[in-house]
């Protein structure tokens, strides 16, 4: 098998992709107009009909959809197909208090799995790979998505799901898994456990990891790559759009290719909604092109990134989005300063601390406090109190220059910060506002 799952589409000249998008966009708008009264009403409020949209150059005229719309229309209000045509439901965890429920027709599933298969091939996978899927299975899209993609590709799939870390390692070793799919925080945990068991990167057959569903830093990537002796690839997606696979990294590890035959991506100014030119950093907005059951027009992801059509050495022509610093939902505002957990992670790993940390935010006497709890490691520990204090002070300095505010650093005993088998809970915000 080659380096692409679908070479003709993945390396299609950009003008051709553009044409394909225009053609599909008009059909998608018509489908939504005919079948989703909620969005038709939004268009009518702006005095628009499908005839006003002749190509993606007219996309900017269309109203946005947001998480608030999803909540208002919950559960069936944005469906483009009757329930009898749907075969699957997936849902988010609802940890941010806004549960998303998405519906799929058989074709929607096929498209989703196709995108996941492309991601696995981009990570070096083929029908000879053994793919261990250690994302959670169930309502969460991680497990089912990569499982489906792996099947479509013809790889041997180990549906390990998350949890029981020792068994995960045993499967990797005994069943010769070559690709591991899970959240980056779970990958770090598996790596840590391997080290504890005295295993070296050469003791396991893994070659690549496809890690997504949460933001992770470049430093964490290098850390996982070194611990497991693999190449670690980022993958991006949202349940609203299907799940993982909306975009994925190639061997170049320099931005994630968005599947442009299925989506149109825009970057907007999150304050004004104005479309920004290519290369600008702003909020990522998606329009689906081939969705049947849950089509979304100009859906605001709240994710901050930028796009580039610069040619990629891998040969894929689809637009790339830069690795996310974090979801807007993850961003903390502390004393007026925007803080992403991934920035804190960067400082920790650079100074030799583990990627297991917890951020505790509180408000004392009307001032926000930021406490970063980090586990002590044998490498960072010495018998000399002054030296430990100096290292702690260095960490405070590093955080100050990264974040622009002073954080308290608390060193805690090993294994006291709870390990995650799915999405890590990094932040505890005790502020009562």
């Amino acid at each position: 098998m080659g380096k692409y799952f679908q070479p003709e589409i993945e390396t299609m000249p950009h003008e051709k992709i553009h044409e394909l998008q225009n053609e599909r966009l008009l059909k998608q708008i018509r489908h939504v107009w005919d079948n989703v009264p909620y969005y038709r009403k939004k268009m009518q409020e702006k005095g628009l009909t499908p005839d006003d949209i002749r190509s993606q150059d007219d996309l900017y005229k269309l109203p946005f959809l947001s998480k608030a719309d999803l909540r208002e229309a919950y559960p069936y209000g944005l469906m483009g197909k009757p329930l009898k045509d749907c075969v699957r439901i997936q849902s988010t965890s609802g940890t941010t208090g806004q549960r998303v429920v998405a519906f799929y027709t058989p074709n929607d599933i096929k498209i989703w799995e196709t995108m996941c298969a492309r991601a696995i091939v981009a990570a070096g996978g083929s029908n000879e790979s053994v793919v261990q899927v250690s994302y959670g299975y169930g309502l969460f899209t991680g497990g089912p998505g990569l499982n489906g993609g792996s099947h479509m590709l013809g790889s041997l799939t180990i549906p390990a799901s998350s949890g029981n870390t020792d068994r995960q390692i045993m499967f990797i070793k005994d069943l010769q898994a070559t690709i591991l799919c899970c959240t980056p925080s779970y990958a770090a945990f598996i790596g840590e456990r391997m080290k504890e068991m005295g295993m070296k990167p050469d003791d396991i057959p893994l070659k690549a990891g496809i890690f997504g569903a949460e933001a992770w830093s470049e430093e964490m990537r290098r850390d996982i790559e070194a611990t497991m002796g693999i190449k670690a690839y980022d993958i991006y997606g949202l349940t609203e759009l299907c799940g993982p696979g909306v975009s994925f990294e190639c061997e170049d590890q320099h931005g994630m290719h968005i599947n442009e035959d299925y989506f149109i991506a825009e970057i907007i100014d999150p304050k004004t909604g104005e479309v920004l030119p290519e290369g600008s950093t702003g909020e990522l907005v998606f329009t689906t092109l081939e969705k049947e059951a849950f089509p979304l027009i100009r859906y605001r992801t709240r994710d901050i990134t930028s796009l580039t059509h610069e040619p990629c050495p891998c040969g894929r022509t689809h637009v790339r989005m830069t690795k996310l610093k974090g979801r807007t939902d993850d961003m903390l505002i502390i004393r007026g300063v925007n803080v992403f957990p991934s920035q804190i992670e960067t400082v920790l790993i650079n100074q030799g601390y583990p990627a297991n940390y917890q951020i505790i935010v509180d408000r004392v006497n009307n001032t926000d406090t930021l406490d970063v709890r980090v586990e002590m490691t044998p490498e960072m520990f010495t018998d000399n109190l002054g030296e430990v204090n100096r290292r702690q002070a260095k960490l405070v300095d590093g955080l100050r220059s990264m974040l622009g505010l002073t954080a308290k650093v608390t060193l805690v005993a090993p294994k006291t910060i709870v390990r995650s088998e799915g999405k890590a809970v990094r932040v505890i915000d005790n502020r009562k506002i």
Binding site: D383, L385, L411, A413
Partner: protein, 144 residues
């Protein structure tokens, strides 16, 4: 000649020290000396034991972070000015004492024993032994 000291990282909250002593007691580890340095967040316990390897293994399996350091176990005459003389020698040689603490000796002994953590073990040993101060090793320590 030096002995191995085991340092252990502990959080500064109720029960942490006890967790460690329990792990050691359950493994029948005999402590010869101990000192504790603390900040508001955490502390470092320094242990002198007979069975260094056994203790390190017990601590590791109980998931404590520990490290080993070479320190000097110095015999100090059990008379007024005994300790002063040792420090005078070290001071004269320009050796910095990072910390020190007393350990259990023998009741009948005419000497006290103190652990010295200095910036230069070899130089400190030479200085002290040259002046007739006795420094004991792991075996002698166990025999006390």
């Amino acid at each position: 000649m030096s002995v191995k000291q085991i340092s252990v990282f502990l959080e500064n909250r109720p029960g942490c020290l006890h967790e460690m002593t329990k792990a050691l007691a359950d493994a029948n580890i005999d402590l010869r000396g101990l000192s504790l340095a603390e900040t508001s967040d955490f502390g470092i316990v320094r242990l002198i034991v007979d069975d260094v390897l056994g203790t390190a293994t017990v601590l590791k399996s109980a998931r404590f972070v520990a490290s080993l350091t070479d320190v000097l176990a110095v015999e100090v005459p059990n008379v007024p000015g005994g300790l002063n003389r040792v420090l005078e020698l070290l001071d004269g040689a320009g050796i910095n004492v990072e910390y020190m603490y007393a350990i259990l000796g023998n009741k009948k002994s005419e000497s006290a024993y103190m652990i010295f953590r200095v910036d230069d073990n070899a130089k400190a040993s030479g200085t002290l032994e040259g002046a007739g101060v006795k420094i004991i090793g792991q075996e002698e320590l166990s025999a006390l």
